[in-house]
């Protein structure tokens, strides 16, 4: 399946790219297997596995692990620091 991924704020700086669209192998089924897949090609992506990293899926803040579907728009988020 295909997913569109964005990295927000400090994660964007750390992973060196703002957004990307990926074709995923069949063993990637949820947020956590996606992070493992990303880490295989870029060790910096291991930072996404930290429990404080939040996930927005199709414009909703979701809890991890979150199942994925073809066409999902994902955003990995450092802890929020508003207010």
């Amino acid at each position: 399946m295909h997913v569109h991924i964005r990295y927000m704020a400090a994660l964007r700086d750390r992973l060196g790219e703002g957004e990307t669209t990926l074709d995923l192998p069949p063993d990637v089924s949820d947020s956590e297997t996606l992070i493992a897949h990303l880490t295989a090609s870029d060790a910096a992506a291991a930072a996404l596995a930290a429990p404080e990293i939040r996930l927005i899926r199709n414009d909703r803040i979701v809890t991890r692990p979150s199942a994925l579907e073809d066409g999902d728009r994902l955003a990995f988020c450092p802890p929020f620091t508003g207010g």
């Binding site: 927000m8 704020a9 700086d13 927005i56 955003a75 450092p78 929020f80 620091t81 508003g82």
Partner: protein, 156 residues
């Protein structure tokens, strides 16, 4: 008409929010408000707020609905600024009105504590030498968790 939820790059107007809630409903005995503003810190030239358009507004609206129902508020308003701002400028304004004071005060405390950790905003400090992202504070996470526990207890 004052929007209930507003995320904007334009300057905010805290007194206008207080004015909008004061003397408007005969059943209200209390109006509470909170203003968060850019505090001076060594090297800070501007503070930048990044957010996730669409998701931010939904997150704020959900927190607002939770506060409205939990404290039986008459009104509640959340305005949050994004983009770059200077020391002294307003980052966020929260205001709530209610028949009784405890409801208004607690709801405002709840809203500011929760929005810090539950709405997709990120702060970045710009200095003469570059910029750095603000890291989440443990005390903010603890304050947010306090309300999560309170609500879980009541629902139990």
């Amino acid at each position: 008409m004052m929007p209930k939820i507003l995320v904007t790059a334009d300057p905010l107007d805290p007194p206008a929010l207080v004015a909008a809630l004061t003397g408007t409903d005969p059943d209200d005995g209390a109006v509470a408000s909170f203003v968060g503003q850019v505090r001076a810190e060594p090297g800070l030239q501007t503070l930048e707020l990044e957010h996730y358009p669409g998701v931010t507004e939904t997150a704020l609206a959900e927190l607002r609905e939770l506060a409205m129902s939990r404290w039986s508020l008459s009104q509640a308003i959340i305005h949050h600024r994004v983009g770059r701002m200077a020391v002294g400028e307003t980052i966020v304004v929260v205001a709530a009105s209610a028949p009784h004071r405890r409801a208004a005060l607690e709801a405002v405390g709840f809203l500011i504590d929760r929005l810090k950790t539950e709405a997709p905003f990120w702060k970045r400090v710009h200095t003469a030498g570059g910029s750095h992202w603000v890291t989440a504070r443990d005390s903010d996470a603890a304050a947010s968790q306090y309300w999560r526990d309170q609500i879980a207890q009541e629902d139990a």
